[in-house]
Symmetry: C2
Subunit: 205 residues, 2 copies
């Protein structure tokens, strides 16, 4: 029997570089990447089932009703969501599933699948995030303060996550995520029942 795979949720504030980290992680490892569903029109070159699952509004809403999403949101009149069944199927086959998602989405996934491994990607330092915000352009002092406050608020959500990975270099961040996945598979609360089951053989054989 194969051990069940993990749901690894990779999230964090914008500017932390979670997309780059995920890309590098998937190049090196045989993980299963979650593909989102959406009701928006496919753009040129986008393939159904690869970039997105393209659904009609009716289909999407009926899937919401039947609780077929780990999370979903409506953005500018279009639905976006993370299908539940395909991720759970992959995990049941022993695959680790990677889900890259913003903070709001990650918190909703946590409500529906608390056993996930929630990883918060951080910029190298708060100083660095500050520089990135300042260097984005000629903003007014008021708008800078608003942005700082928003970053400040976003980072508060870290307490909802299991792990924080500082994206100092992509290589280092990938190594940390790989280590987290190995360690999670060794956690006693995850393997205990299996070990105690195999132990029964000693006494009863």
């Amino acid at each position: 029997m194969k051990t069940k795979g993990l749901l690894i949720v990779i999230s964090g504030p914008s500017g932390a570089g979670k997309g780059t980290v995920c890309k590098a992680l998937l190049e090196k490892n045989d993980f299963w990447i979650s593909v989102s569903a959406t009701t928006r029109e496919p753009r040129d070159g986008e393939i159904d089932g690869v970039n997105y699952y393209f659904l009609t509004r009716d289909d999407f809403q009926s899937k919401i009703k039947s609780k077929d999403f780990l999370e979903y949101a409506e953005v500018y009149g279009n639905y976006y969501g993370t299908p539940k069944k395909s991720a759970l199927d992959a995990m049941n086959l022993g695959k680790d599933v990677i889900l890259e998602i913003d903070i709001q989405g990650a918190l909703k996934v946590k409500e529906n699948y608390h056993e996930g491994v929630f990883i918060f990607i951080l910029p190298p330092s708060m100083e660095e995030l500050k520089h990135r915000i300042i260097n984005r352009g000629s903003e007014t002092k008021e708008s800078l303060v608003t942005r700082f406050k928003s970053a400040y608020k976003e980072i508060n959500y870290i307490s909802k996550y299991n792990y924080a990975v500082v994206n100092d270099t992509v290589e280092d961040a990938v190594k940390k995520i790989e280590s987290i996945i190995i360690a999670e598979k060794c956690r006693v609360d995850k393997v205990e029942s299996e070990i105690l089951k195999s132990k029964e053989g000693i006494i009863h054989e």
Copy 2:
């Protein structure tokens, strides 16, 4: 400021190979290894502070009174114990401390230092442990059953640990322990206060 090091407690039933795993782990990494204190006489070639700290009975007992041990036990009239101060000093300097110890000792360490990382080393399979027990020699059926029951009982303590590492190959077990150490340093409950502290700079500067 350096991040505080971890106390990594490596333990498990006899026959699991924790000694071999620890030796390989220490060869590859710059960890600080805890040296036990004892009241037994030094054997030929044993060096004070390297193999053991050799203490008089009076010294040992006064250290028990002043709670200077993470754990101690009396075995065949001699005391053995894990000094607390030197381990905590090393951790305060940012060193990760490795403590290889039997199950009874590990459980006592947990009472005194709950923040430690408790790793349970398992033999490749319960079948393998059974074979090792049988192959130890020409035991009676009764004594085999006693040994099985003891192994059975020892493995029940796994629930007191944080991680279980199957010693299938030493290389693989070492990699898992190294991953656990990296992952533990990313745990949000360990790094959160530091991150939120450094975040304050964004607003107040």
